[in-house]
Symmetry: D2
Subunit: 335 residues, 4 copies
């Protein structure tokens, strides 16, 4: 018996990726794909699904969706997502939310960074953050999971064990991230027009990126001390991949081996996080749900380097990993 799933907001890149993964899943039936645009075969919007998924994009209400699907992958933008999720849950569906709506712990922080009141503030702080490496048990039993942001995943995985173990100082962390262009979505913008961003690197949203409060929140919560990072994202001329380089101060005298051992120990049983000796490249994780990470001590500073595919471990792969946990399937199924 397959689990019936729906994908809301199915015209973007993360939705396409989650559909591709779900098509490989032996225990899933995709029963609906939704969009506010006019009905059209999904393969007309995503030609790569030709012959693979024979569904029409429909503009369904939350009630209609939860009547059909046991699990909903919501790829709606922030704000729009929290507008419909309460009704999906009332209708009996369980939800993996790709938006940022349930990732933060506080409605006031949300309002400050996202510019509008949170539509469903009671659930903030209750919904588990969908990083199984940190919150596996909470995810298993949850009806709603907040799927992590792509940058936060790449940053939280290397830093949270070090903070938890007290090996690095929480108040002095610099994060310099590099992302492929698919992370900017499918909406047309001059900055992602090919002849503008190809053969070019630039920083953007310096000091203002909305993943900052998410990183701060999870690192603080999991690490046990108030943490705030200096975060600079950069746009790289490639489709996919995030590499994050972090710079932090060791707490006292710490060797490179001690840092690596802490990471290796923390992730020793994790199927998708690999602590490597070499310097990882994003291509090593391209198209996979893996995170490869390593660490070095440089002139007394701890440098970590981590790589993920932003659309897989940074979005759709993590979502299916969460789905597997929620519905009792083997965590690595289809991944």
């Amino acid at each position: 018996m397959a689990t019936r799933v729906a994908v809301m907001g199915a015209t973007g890149y993360t939705a396409l990726e989650v559909i591709k993964i779900l098509l490989r899943h032996p225990h899933v039936e995709i029963v609906a794909v939704t969009s506010r645009q006019d009905p059209a075969p999904i393969s007309s919007v995503h030609p790569s699904l030709t012959g693979q998924l024979d569904l029409v994009l429909q503009n369904l209400s939350p009630a209609e969706i939860s009547a059909r699907a046991e699990c909903v992958f919501s790829c709606l933008p922030h704000g729009a997502s929290a507008d419909v999720i309460p009704e999906l849950l009332r209708g009996g569906a369980r939800v993996v939310d790709f938006s940022a709506d349930y990732r933060l712990g506080s409605a006031s922080v949300y309002e400050k960074w996202y510019g509008h009141k949170h539509p469903d503030p009671e659930r903030l702080g209750v919904v588990p953050y969908g990083l199984p490496e940190l919150y596996r048990d909470a995810i298993r039993s949850a009806d709603l999971v907040a799927n992590p942001g792509c940058y936060p995943t790449s940053v939280i995985l290397p830093l949270s064990p070090l903070l938890k173990a007290g090996l690095i100082v929480a108040e002095d962390i610099i994060v310099d991230s590099k992302s492929g262009v698919s992370g900017a979505g499918r909406s047309l913008k001059l900055t992602t027009h090919f002849p503008e961003c190809n053969e070019s690197v630039s920083a953007y949203s310096v000091g203002r990126h909305r993943h900052v409060p998410e990183i701060d929140h999870i690192l603080s919560k999991f690490g046990g001390q108030e943490t705030s990072v200096i975060f600079t994202p950069h746009l790289i001329p490639m489709d996919r991949g995030i590499l994050s380089t972090t710079y932090s101060r060791p707490m006292g005298e710490v060797s490179e081996e001690a840092i690596l051992d802490c990471l290796r120990d923390f992730y020793k049983d994790e199927p998708f996080v690999k602590v490597v000796d070499r310097l990882p490249a994003t291509k090593d994780t391209l198209g996979t749900n893996y995170c490869h990470l390593t660490a070095r001590i440089v002139r007394g500073r701890v440098v970590t380097i981590s790589c993920i595919d932003n659309l897989v471990k940074g979005a759709a792969g993590a979502a299916v990993q969460n789905f597997n946990l929620m519905f009792g399937y083997s965590e690595t199924t289809a991944l």
Copy 2:
């Protein structure tokens, strides 16, 4: 009357770039291009010179070169360059050296980072560092100029005015740089094989890159206080361009405007360094001798972002700028 110039080690990318710029120079005649390989028309090695430069690559001795040329652009690798430069100078030629051989201040530091004894240690510390924005007067009268490294140029331009003005702390500087692949040269390596580095980002030489002592040396010398940086270079899937993001601590209370004013004031008369308000992209400087840079304060940290074309302002353009100064031409000729 044109100045007669030669290009040594003319098969690589920086040599090609300096030739292209010199072909636009109204006061230059290229009289020789050298290589240790078998004689061949230079257009057989660089097809883009077809119909533009009708010279044969020759394996000439330093004496032969200095007999023909008033100025030599040496694109030889480090070590090889300092082996021949003393003889070129004795022969009466003036030299712009693209290698690292004369950039450092001390033979022992050189030996530590480059792994062999310096062949011409007496000149270290005397040869001017070819960054006209810092050392214009010394360059004018020099017979030998040490053309700067590409990463150092991108780092020294934003940081040196701030250090000189005492606006940032010298002991806590992090530099995260991103470079196009041409910076790795024309020698074949797996890491620069297209299917390996395309659609991928990686860090390399973490804590061990040879541009570290060069950055430290010039920042310390020009800024007036011992400076050492944490430097991480990254390989980006594009041909050209370097973007360097630096993170430093302000000395006391300093506003973003004060940082920007310091930079604007320092570079107000410079033809090739532009302090911009927007976040610059490497493409804004592609194919030009310009550096675009800006600064932000993020959570109390000074963040600078600077962009150059690694083959122009980071190599061949700077070399011609130095040449123009040395030979009394307008500094911007051909640039």
Copy 3:
């Protein structure tokens, strides 16, 4: 005394390229750059012009433009261009038109392919086609020149000498062209959104591309026999460059050497067209006004391969080459 020039429709890529070339021109002063958008410094639209051109984009009438400028480079889209050019000419300006409006020989062919009546049909067939290699003398004395399309330039250069010499059959020519994305312009489209066209190749406008009648018209006119080509353009994930591969039948027994000799002879004094022995790559001509071309006989068919930079020889470089001829400057100035 510099020639005063204006660039109309200055926000696109060909306009940027013509400005960059004109900034290197010793006998040109750019006096106006126009756009229908709100007035703004041109460097805010083209950051790469920062510090290089201190003009504000203005919405000027044709009369105002021709009052200021001796030569106008019109980068307006087809239709819009022929709407204003008659008035520019009446005002005394000479014009290089980047649009397709004056390239064809007949108003009815124009209407068929462009879907609207030609606003200035009398000039069709009189205005010279701005390919100096074919029509140099007519260009010198013209007040209006129709700057060629990028694809047509890459196709007409290899084929016209062979047709003229009667070496190939006019009725059986296949042209398979590959272009970088800048050829599609700066307007946002899904097909030129980075994550769509990066790492992908596709054909487009098969059998319907508007450069077909232009290629047919010039090949027929110059070659002296009615010629019609099968033309398929492809979009390639790179910024710039066109490579056109053509397949035609030799007229009788013709050797590869005879084909190459015909081309070499035709272009022997041309500064910008180089017949090469090797198989050319678009990168050999990147950023230059050169066309590299060659030919092979394969199983009795003539195959030509030609490369240009679509924004230079395919647009802005050709325009300046035409300008140089029109105003009596050396044809290669600034190129």
Copy 4:
């Protein structure tokens, strides 16, 4: 019970791809990966296999391999492959050969194009060509299958039904193909050095590419009339993907709909070949075993356009499709 498989010559890109697909296969156990280089964990050569395949590259003899494995995927280069395959077969293993050694029908044609005598000429013409869409039944029962070349797959799929149906003329076919760089393999060459081939397009091996006799042979054999094509491959700056554009003459009066109907009918039950109405892009098939193809009539000529991923349907995916047929698994398993 899983089928035990080995991958010979496991350090290249097609081997990596076949390993990745086999790791998703529920009925396969990879028991050996071989290479003539020194023993090393396969993840040191292919970092993307970290944590996924814990095998050491070994230099095994054919006898050792066939003792361990029921099926061998041979990724050895041509020549080397036919040297060992007879012994593998004698040892009882069944083999999918990625090389060209068993694709042609005649030892003399092989010698002409490959420059050496065929080591195992008796099997030529007997071994089935591994394109299940044409030779499914022969593949099922074969002990050795000649996995098709990447270009041939992209050309034979659109043309063979049209030739078979007598809709196009066999003697006048032009094929213009565009391939990503992974097709050139993992060996270092200047032409595939990133700064050489990035941002560039070029033709290569014009009239001399070794896939010509393979295309001719299969089209002639399957179509039933002697066929010879004019074939020009081009190198495109992307990792993966082949788009082939073919130009042929219709036999008599044929409509576009008749061409498309012939293709649709031929492939109506095929899981991996999709005849589409739109113009396909290689990205539509990226990472998949699909071929998307379409056709147009342009000025009386039949134009077909087909897209595959050269490493999947053009190599490793086809190999697993063949494996599935040979070992009785569902043909689409793991694909």
